[in-house]
Amino acid sequence: MSESPPVIRTQDLVKEFGPVRALDHLSLSIAPGEVHGYLGPNGAGKSVTMRILLGLLRPDSGSVEVFGRDPWRDAVSLHERLAYVPGDVELWPNLTGGEVIDLFLRLRGPYDKVRRDELVERFGLDPRKKTRTYSKGNRQKVALIAALAADVDLLLLDEPTAGLDPLMEAVFQEVVKELKDQGRSVLLSSHILAQVEALSDRISIIRAGHIVESGTLSELRHMTRTTIEVETDRSAESVAGLSFVHDVHTEAERTVFEVDGDHVGEVMSLLADLGIRSIVAHPPTLEQLLMRHYGDDLSQRGVSSGTGAATSGTRADADASVRATTRTKKVS
């Protein structure tokens, strides 16, 4: 895959809205046929990236290419090859769902009506209702069907399943997998980590307009910590002294701790000497990946100094701190 040119390539993208820096030297690359998970909290710059890729916004500096071309200049020809699902789908209230789907398919030229009807069926959408009567989930379905039924090489999906119920979420994953098998590329931004985990070949994590980590899921796991729950004959407290072991909790014989991804082997041989009765090891979930980045952010900045809230820091806290970071940046 590495020899073919990337479908999306951005280099050092910077986008500022007045005093707020929305994108801060963002570099992103997506290969053909790749489903790329794009993770980050609200306000991290995911939607701004999408809108730059669509040529609706113009970057202040840096370069952006979609299929090797400039989306601002060549928007129309590029849009023939891509489809977009906005994060917050607003539809024309006096059109029916079916009409919106057809409008978008026709704007791209001839389309496969069988495919369109099949997707309407699979997503369980009533296409005869006016969109003003649709719930958020149903509006989302309309945009999804319009995008997924289009014969395009690239899908830009901005939190596409917000508002969908779990059944529809499963349908969505199924359809995206089918498209992936056909060699389409997908940029999938999401909060729903399980979804990204299930679908993505590679993942980029964006924070405050900057990609903080990028790679395959296993590469990212390598860079992070594995959680180990172990019961041993002799006390396992000795592991607490190791530099690559974190957050050690001990309850009688049971010890729970996190170990850096590249030191798991050493810890295992240490534990073996202590007499393992039972052991459970969790690979890091994406929640942990994200929380680690934002958790670090919190503790570094001393937002919750001394209260220990960094570990229990909620998502909202993390978001607030990201925004705070953005704001401090503009001052400096």
Binding site: V76, H79, P86, E90, T96, E99, D102
Partner: protein, 553 residues
């Protein structure tokens, strides 16, 4: 609401308990609405007050001497003047206060009516449509609490505004009883339209629909009153068919009748009761006029940018088109009335209208007046485009292979073609109306009137050009500037002759440059200039839109 949980004792006396329950939370909601609307309501009340003070004090400025007053009053005594402002009580013996009540009070009433309509819709149907009502009703809030709080807010603000209008009258040394009657009439009109809106909010599923129904009632009231008041001094039977007519039949400073207000208050109360009753007949978020199922698949015409633009703009333009066509028909059909009046008027008064033929002068004047409204339809359409952008639909539409130029170009094409069509329809309506009612030579005016309407196109399109240019370069200011142009054009067209406006300022009125055909000959210079402004504006707007970002936050 919590009936199942009530004890048997309470169930035996359900009326008081459940009645209290349906109004539970009214006070809290009222406080909440006041908090949300503290600026909006204050602005409206102050606006109405300002209008009151302005009207009350402007009369003596406009007409400094008795003679000035008499000549001005004769304007409001003739049929066209009566048609515009009211039945013209006391214009045979005019005083400042009578002139104020006859000529201006109606505008205060209309402002109060608009405020009432907007405010009731804003706090009832609009909240339901946005899904916020559900959130509120999930708390300890009774079924009728929202409507009650909305009505209390509206009527309290109306009372405040009416009180200040009374102060305005008294401050101009007008008779206290008459000033009170003007204020009370405003209050009664507010009650009537607040009640009517309480009903329309139950009927329509969308806030736009609810406002349109209530606003339509106001427009019909105005149109019916126009016909009634133009027919006779003091109004005819038709005047009594309009709620705005009732408010004017009080004849402040002349007859000082209070009883016509009972009609307004009575029907307002009936409307409010009906609104409460209807609201119990439906579910939250639902409407009494059912939403229909539409097409499962789009017609072929929808699959293009122009098709998309047409469906976006269709609803609004259709509404404007129908209303303006009816207005054109009506104004045209007053031709005979004007002709009759012209015969009985002294020549120096008929000279106020352009040209010698008073009837044609009137129709030329109406053509300009209608052009202002058609341009308003255009500004409203451009405002919708800005809405498409801020609501994210423009962005979504342009994610398909549709360029910025093509997107804006398609919408402008639909808008301009529709406006030209409306212009022709209005001209047609005036022509048909006049031809049908004139006792002789009706047919020969038809072509002239049609042309008079169509010839306003350059002025209307010039407004579109200016606003489009702004849409491309200063999108935030575009619609606001558009409405200022319309408002200024409307005031200048209606009152320009009465006010002492410096020429430089009058020149800024887009609608003041075209020759008043059919009374004057067609002049090509202004037509060319206005067309040039239109084209330059559209080109500039397209260039700006092509190079600017979409919905930049």
């Amino acid at each position: 609401m919590s009936a199942p949980a009530l004890s048997s004792e309470a169930r035996r006396a359900p009326s008081t308990a459940s009645e209290q329950a349906t109004f539970a939370g009214t006070g809290t909601l009222l406080g909440f609405m006041l908090r949300r609307d503290r600026i909006r309501t204050t602005a409206w009340v102050l606006g109405i007050t300002l209008a009151g003070f302005y009207f009350a004090h402007a009369v003596s400025v406009v007409a400094e001497t008795e003679e000035d007053l008499v000549s001005l009053a004769s304007l409001y005594a003739d049929p066209v003047g009566r048609m515009m402002v009211g039945p013209g009580f006391g214009m045979d013996a005019p005083t400042y206060e009578r002139f104020y009540a006859s000529g201006y009070a109606l505008f205060i009433y209309v402002l109060i009516a608009l405020f009432s309509i907007f405010t009731v819709v804003r706090h009832s149907r609009a909240e339901e449509q946005a899904g916020r009502a559900e959130l509120v009703r999930a708390n300890v809030v009774g079924r009728h609490a929202t409507l009650t709080a909305a009505l209390i807010l509206t009527l309290t603000a109306n009372a405040l505004a009416a009180g200040l209008v009374l102060v305005a009258g008294v401050s101009a040394d007008y008779d206290a009883a008459g000033s009170t009657l003007v204020a009370a009439s405003g209050l009664a009109v507010g009650l009537f339209f607040a009640g009517a809106t309480a009903v329309t909010a139950q009927l329509s599923e969308s806030s736009r629909g609810a406002s349109a129904l209530a606003g339509g009632l106001l427009a019909v009231a105005y149109l019916v009153r126009m016909g009634g008041d133009a027919a006779e001094v003091g109004g005819s039977g038709l005047s009594w068919a309009s709620p705005l007519g009732w408010s004017q039949q009080t004849a402040p400073f002349v007859l000082d009748r209070w009883w016509p207000l009972l009609l307004l208050i009575g029907s307002g109360a009936v409307f409010i009761a009906a609104g409460y009753w209807l609201s119990t007949k439906r579910d939250i978020d639902a409407s009494l006029l059912p939403g229909r199922l539409g097409r499962a698949e789009a017609k072929p015409s929808l699959g293009t940018p122009a098709g998309m633009a047409f469906r976006t703009l269709k609803g609004g333009l259709r509404g404007w088109g129908i209303a303006l066509l009816l207005a054109g028909l009506m104004f045209g059909s007053y031709a005979q009335t004007i002709l009759d009046a012209a015969d009985s008027l002294p020549p120096e008064i008929s000279q106020i209208f352009a040209g010698e033929d008073m009837m044609l002068g009137y129709l030329a004047y109406m053509a300009v007046f209608m052009a202002v409204f058609i341009a308003a339809a255009g500004v409203s359409g451009l405002g919708q485009l800005r809405g498409e952008e801020t609501k994210g639909r423009a962005e979504y539409g342009m994610s398909a292979p549709v360029s910025r130029l093509r997107w804006l170009g398609s919408h402008l094409l639909v808008l301009v073609v529709s406006l030209l069509l409306i212009l022709c329809l209005v001209g047609l309506g005036m022509g048909v109306g006049a031809a049908a009612t004139l006792e002789q030579d009706g047919g020969q005016y038809f072509g002239q009137l049609f042309l008079a309407g169509a010839l306003q196109a350059p002025a209307v399109l010039a407004v579109i050009g200016i606003v489009t240019a702004l849409f491309g370069w200063l999108p935030r200011a575009a619609t606001a500037v558009g409405w200022v142009i319309i408002g200024f054009g409307g005031v200048m067209t209606a009152f320009g002759g009465l006010l002492d406006i410096p020429d430089a300022l009058a020149e800024l009125n887009v609608f003041g440059h075209l020759a008043e055909y059919p009374v004057q000959d067609i002049e090509w210079t202004p037509i060319l200039w206005l067309s040039l402004i239109c084209m330059a504006g559209i080109v500039l707007g397209l260039i700006g839109f092509h190079r600017r970002e979409i919905n930049r936050v």
